[in-house]
Symmetry: C2
Subunit: 427 residues, 2 copies
């Protein structure tokens, strides 16, 4: 590194440290803020975003022009663009978060112990959350809203291609926070597009309690690799539907087709279909026809290809592939044990479903499949914070510690113990 | 590194990888094991430990002799030694774990959603737990018991000074597991005293889900620094009692004296006493007398020394010091806000207590102090898995993610989502 670069890096490190310190201070005020105050801030921000629609659109225009000049692809430019509808959706999202119950301060399991003390648990914010994301600027508003409602300060680092849009949104968020009497530093958007800022953020253990990356696999892998702070994440969604011996053919067809074709690019889309050998000859032709009709490319194991002709061979690599596209791997397995073994070995511990009418096998599948969501007779596409009733979702975790599955407000909090006594001491 | 050393390190790496692979395989069987089978294994191990008391004592003798030769201090030798009573305590501990409710498989919050699916959560084991500890060989048995009951496989790495004792215990544990029909690999004790084995264990992300270090601060700091796997830990116990304006003098005296003097060397012992300025002149002389009578050395802030004469000055460093000894720092603070500020700034987020009769200040202290246990009118010494009714404790966590406070069986498990449908698909 030459002296100029080193100096620059030191400067960014210093700026990020300052951002972190401010976030930590603001997090204390957020943690003790009343539900009413937090909701007032959410509603104020929603109003400001609507009121400033023209100014936001003008800033967004700058990003779009820069994107065009830099040859950003049309799909990315589309994601980046503000429209009146998208601005309304952002504001509406904040109003929905305001309407959700406040998880903070809830006390549970408060019981008397033989010593005479009462012991219970109180739900409290995590503190400071760092969120690293890519092009969609609406994440700035969503993430800020969820962190605010759950009593956490946050540091947001969006994609450089949305720099002006994010900065304009950040100004609005700060204004709304201050209008409600909360510290503006509770939501800070990183003010530089320099990559070094991400590295600095991922090292600030003393100021940041958890990192949530939102974006493609590359981003998430990089963040997980580099972070010294715990990360809430999922890398892959290699989801399965297993059609069991005891499956109802109509339900199998409905669930499998929905799991694959309702949307191709989502992490809870089925990527591999497993079929029990005992029903393969009966079920596979019907299933294959339905997929082919939808334009899905099929890749099968040897047994599958003996039943369904004219499809490509699935290789070992197909079992771990997240296609995110109209492609499906199919494998015939010997039964429940082989299906569970396949899922636990090749899957990504995201979401897996069995189609069966057999009570015992449904019960075993639920217990033995080691995934963040395990389903019976339901489409994997249901694995989602809104569908699960969390009200909102900051992401899906396939990790085991802390949050697992869709992460809503509760996943941004933790439990501390509280003890109530009356001069009690330990003997 | 020369070729011989490199070869040795590679060999240990290979052995540890093999241990990890076996643990992962065993963890699947453990996760689906019935409560009755797990309890049978716990009782079988307890019986074997009692039956083999003589053989265990003979192996322990080897460690004690080696320790004497290596000049191990008397206190450490004492911790290391098996006696008939200690062997009985180990067996009894296992029987108590067998009597605890099984957390695995419990389903909670199973509710119908508007789409027609039922969504709930099932408690499941974490998978494979790595435990790194120092001299006491009883940890081998305790930790194995807690992991077994919570459906987890474990890899145990004890101190080299307890090598023979741990190996003999491991043989007994394996025999008990196999007697109950569970895989012997569910509990593996690392078979080498080489330090490289610890490093290898801390890097095996694919085979180990969480690391629990048990021992002194040095060990825990080293493990946290080096581990690529999430760690459940606490580094320090800098616990506070705050005597509020509204404190009952009798309760203040009782709680503060118990918090400091009931035991000096535990992590939930008070290390700093905070007293509100408004009651300092009244309370401090009585409190100081009581501590001096117990032989506790006092170090005070300027205001404290103006009231209690002849005590040393507390420096900035005293506010963050975990004495683990008959030494107490005392600070006069301006009131509740200053007390909370002091605790959140200098404390270790372990356990802090307020003594007060004031309803509003008790309520604020409970919410605003950012510690794993927050108490009102109770001694900090209560922060303990048994006192909290967890039945047993593998450690205390001052981290925020996953487990916070005393960690019992539940802390060794996680929640996955389950979805029950009847051919439901997403529209």
């Amino acid at each position: 590194m030459n002296a100029v670069v080193e100096n620059k890096a030191g400067e960014i490190e210093g700026q990020m440290q300052e951002t972190g310190r401010r976030a930590r201070v603001a997090s204390r005020a957020l943690a003790r803020a009343d539900t009413g105050v937090k909701n007032a801030a959410l509603l104020a921000i929603a109003q400001i975003i609507e009121d400033r629609a023209d100014a936001l659109t003008a800033e967004n225009r700058k990003d779009l022009e820069a994107g065009e000049q830099n040859g950003l692809e049309a799909a990315l430019l589309d994601r980046l663009a503000f429209t009146p509808e998208r601005i309304a959706v952002m504001a509406e999202g904040l109003r929905q978060i305001a309407a959700l119950p406040d998880p903070v301060g809830a006390i549970s399991d408060l019981n008397y112990r033989p010593s005479g003390i009462q012991v219970g648990r109180m739900r409290v914010p995590l503190g400071v959350i760092g969120i690293i994301y890519e092009s969609r600027p609406n994440v700035t508003v969503d993430a800020a809203g969820l962190c605010l409602k759950s009593g956490n300060a946050c540091i947001l680092r969006g994609g450089s291609e949305a720099f002006h849009s994010n900065r304009a949104l950040a100004d609005g968020i700060r204004a709304g926070l201050e209008q409600a009497g909360l510290p503006g530093d509770a939501v800070q958007v990183v003010g530089t597009t320099d990559r070094a800022a991400v590295g600095a953020l991922l090292r600030m253990k003393e100021h940041v309690d958890v990192i949530v990356p939102r974006g493609g696999k590359g981003l998430i892998a990089r963040v997980s690799e580099e972070s010294l702070i715990p990360v809430i994440k999922h890398l892959d969604g290699v989801c399965h539907v297993y059609v069991d011996d005891g499956a109802d053919p109509g339900k199998a067809l409905k669930v499998a087709v929905n799991a694959k074709t309702q949307r191709y690019g989502t992490c809870n889309t089925m990527e591999t279909l497993l079929v029990s050998r005992h029903v393969a000859a009966e079920m596979l032709p019907v299933l294959a026809d339905a997929f082919v009709e939808k334009g899905v490319e099929l890749r099968g194991c040897e047994s599958t290809r003996a039943i369904v002709s004219g499809i490509a061979e699935a290789t070992e690599q197909d079992w771990t592939e997240e296609y995110l596209a109209p492609v499906l791997a199919i494998r015939v397995v010997d039964g429940l044990d082989a299906a569970i073994e396949h899922i636990n070995t090749y899957g990504s511990h995201h979401t897996d479903s069995i189609v069966t009418e057999d009570y015992g096998r449904a019960r075993r599948f639920l217990r033995e499949v080691d995934s963040s969501s395990v389903m019976v007779n339901a489409s994997t596409r249901f694995a989602d914070g809104f569908e699960y009733g969390l009200g909102a979702e900051i992401g899906i975790s396939t990790d085991k510690l802390h949050a697992r599955g869709p992460v809503g407000l509760e996943g941004l909090t933790t439990l501390k113990y509280i003890v109530l006594g009356d001069g009690h001491v330990r003997e």
